[in-house]
């Protein structure tokens, strides 16, 4: 076990110990504040270990592995579990632990009004999530990745349903669980296809093209669920029922990016399946545009950000579909920072005005200047204004799409780049400019834990783009920032979008409306399609199968039982219990046997 692997192991184990401690020592959990500090300390240890992993390994070094056999059977282990550290997982480990630590520190203040018990429970779940995510990130093969995948799904379910007494939150949690589990069946079947045909869970295996295509399509179904791709995206906007820091960590920065991370990991496998990559290209592009349109008409500030997350994940998936794992990964990294920043800044605003709705905000720039500046940094980064982190990664995504499939995906993503700038401008102007609503009149800047976290996250949102070259070196990819057609068009789209938003919403009012989009949003077509698929198809099929089970299968069983009982009832009269009767039977039987022997 090398030092690198040891530190990666510490990064995984530290939050696990905290989670276990908080689960098995209820008194600590019920105290609230000590539990929170235990969780933050665990995350800080994890962050420190992750930073050491990143900096002590040479950027050009190969993968560092340490594995143990798992489930020894028939002389051959079923699989291996352990730690796999290379450029991708080391970087991802730092991104995850950094954002998680920031979010937890932010939560110390944000969740302050909760009762002690739920305060402790909240941080126990956070520790569980960080452990699960790290298990996923350092997975040496697809099987361990799947374990982490399911664990983060569980943590997501529990955290969305954190306010479980609220019916809408409980429903949203179940919906998220239901949708992602449906998609996870794809992961399971993909793994089965892979292991049956190649005998291993490694992503470097070399199956035939047909097997690779089938396995990767199945894996991609799981990615569509986890990374909220159209048409499996419907759970993500509802997941905003969870506390805002949870949305920042799980449903913007890290967990939903697990799908993209899976494709980046399994890139050797996906590279063998061009058909799957075409599918990814189109699904990603459609998601990016579709979600960007819906983000335009949301009135809940968190839902704008949720749809924006869908849209940005669409960018990443499209880049991966174009065959550039690095572009997708780069955008994942920068997106994690600026989207976490945006959510936390929105959380700071929500904390101040006690509402998610943009009509209760307005004019907050004067009352909360620091939050406004941080939100602006995040928004400009997301919009892709030159110089900000989001510009570099989005530009790289768009560059890889140049000329693919007749420029159509490129044009779609360019359109959504314009829309992104437009809706982010709308949110910023409506929340921070214009006249304050009554709810916003008494708002004031948040405390040091919250504003400090915003500043910490604003730095990478500004500067992470300049790390592209170094990141490419670590991830063993080619990257050169250059000035050409795509960057010019992209930055024009971003700036035009912001200017258009200023013209439309600069006064901080909803002065321009999109009737068609609003009715599309209200109609929630995809939601209804899923509801129909569930109630109209699945439940009906279930009812038919249930009938068959109850009356045919069970009927057969009951029939056998009934015949046995009746036969027994008839035959029991032979049993008199008197020894002499039995002796008669024996003697008569012996005589009959003898006669049979004689006359045969």
């Amino acid at each position: 076990m090398t030092n690198t692997v040891l530190h990666a192991t510490i990064a995984v184990i530290a939050p696990a110990i905290v989670a276990l401690l908080l689960v098995i020592v209820p008194t600590l959990r019920h105290r609230g504040v000590p539990a929170a500090w235990a969780c933050v300390c665990g995350s800080l240890v994890s962050l420190g270990a992750a930073l050491r992993v990143l900096f002590e390994r040479a950027p050009e070094a190969g993968a560092d592995r340490w594995t143990v056999s798992w489930l020894e059977a028939a002389g051959r282990p079923l699989a291996e579990v352990g730690i796999h550290v290379d450029g991708v997982s080391a970087t991802m480990l730092v991104v995850v632990t950094l954002v998680a630590t920031c979010v937890q520190v932010f939560s110390l203040a944000y969740m302050h009004d909760e009762s002690k018990r739920s305060y402790g429970r909240y941080f126990a779940l956070h520790a569980l999530f960080l452990f699960s995510m790290n298990v996923l990130v350092v997975a040496p093969n697809l099987l361990q990745l799947f374990m982490g995948w399911e664990l983060v799904g569980l943590a997501s379910y529990l955290l969305i349903g954190f306010y479980f007494a609220k019916p809408s939150a409980a429903r949203a949690a179940v919906k998220a669980f239901w949708m992602t589990k449906l998609a996870d069946m794809g992961f399971l079947f993909g793994l089965i296809v892979l292991v049956v045909n190649t005998g291993s869970f490694e992503w470097t295996s070399q199956p035939t093209t047909a097997v690779a295509t089938l396995a990767t399509v199945l894996l991609f179904v799981a990615v569509m669920g986890k990374s909220a791709q159209f048409p499996l995206h419907v759970w993500l906007p509802d997941a905003m029922e969870g506390p805002t820091p949870v949305s920042a960590l799980l449903h913007a920065a890290t967990m939903v990016a697990a799908g993209v991370f899976l494709i980046v990991r399994a890139d050797p496998l996906f590279a063998q399946a061009p058909a799957t990559q075409d599918l990814m290209l189109w699904v990603g592009s459609i998601t990016a545009v579709f979600a960007a349109f819906l983000a335009l008409v949301q009135t809940d500030v968190k839902k704008v950000l949720a749809y924006s997350t869908c849209s940005q994940l669409g960018y990443m998936v499209a880049a991966l579909g174009a065959g550039s794992a690095f572009a997708g990964f780069f955008h994942l990294g920068t997106h994690a920072f600026f989207k976490a920043l945006l959510f936390l800044a929105a959380g700071s605003v929500i904390h101040a005005v006690h509402s998610n709705d943009m009509k209760d905000m307005g004019g907050l720039a004067r009352k909360m200047p620091l939050t406004a500046v941080c939100f602006l940094v995040g928004a400009l980064s997301l919009a892709g204004v030159p110089g900000f982190a989001g510009f570099f990664s989005k530009d790289l995504v768009l560059t890889t799409l140049e000329g693919r499939a007749g420029w159509v995906p490129w044009a779609m993503l360019m359109a959504s780049a314009f829309l992104t700038a437009f809706y982010m401008g709308r949110v910023f102007f409506r929340v921070f400019l214009g006249r304050a609503s009554t709810a916003a009149e008494h708002a004031h800047e948040s405390g040091p834990a919250m504003s400090g976290t915003l500043i910490v996250l604003a730095v990478p949102s500004l500067l992470a783009g300049f790390l592209g070259g170094w990141l490419a070196h670590t991830a063993r990819a080619e990257y050169h920032a250059h000035w050409g057609l795509t960057p010019i068009v992209a930055s024009t789209a971003a700036v035009t979008g912001l200017v258009a938003a200023y013209l439309a919403f600069g006064r901080g009012r909803e002065s321009v409306r999109f009737g068609v989009l609003e009715s599309l949003d209200r109609a929630s077509v995809v939601d209804r399609a899923w509801a129909f698929a569930y109630r109209g198809v699945l439940l009906r099929v279930g009812a038919v199968l249930g009938w068959i089970d109850r009356y045919v299968v069970d009927g057969l069983m009951n029939g056998v039982g009934w015949v046995t009982l009746e036969t027994g009832g008839a035959v029991r009269r032979l049993q008199t219990g008197r020894v002499r009767d039995y002796a008669y039977v024996v003697v008569v039987g012996a005589i009959l046997l003898a006669l049979y022997g004689v006359w045969r």
Binding site: Q575, T576, G577, R578, V579, R580, A583, Y584, V587
Partner: protein, 98 residues
Amino acid sequence: MTLQHCILLASMLFCIGVYGLLTRRHAIAMLLCIELMLNAANIAFVAFAKFGGGPGQIFVLFALAVTVAEVAVGLALVMALYRRHGDTAIDAAAEAKE
């Protein structure tokens, strides 16, 4: 003495045993009848071994050993029956019906 004589003896002994088993109500008497039947079989074994060859005599020894065990178990059952019902008439023990 020919083989026929021996077989005749064995058959008569066996039939007496069967008759006794079916008519007697006393447990010990029934055990004795079973002994008669077993010994009829033993005589047949010995007779066939003497007149026809073969390993029949060995089986008699085995049968005797089994008989001893059977009698031991049988008498133990009779003891238990007597303690339970105060009687060795076999019809008293009809609990096997339920």
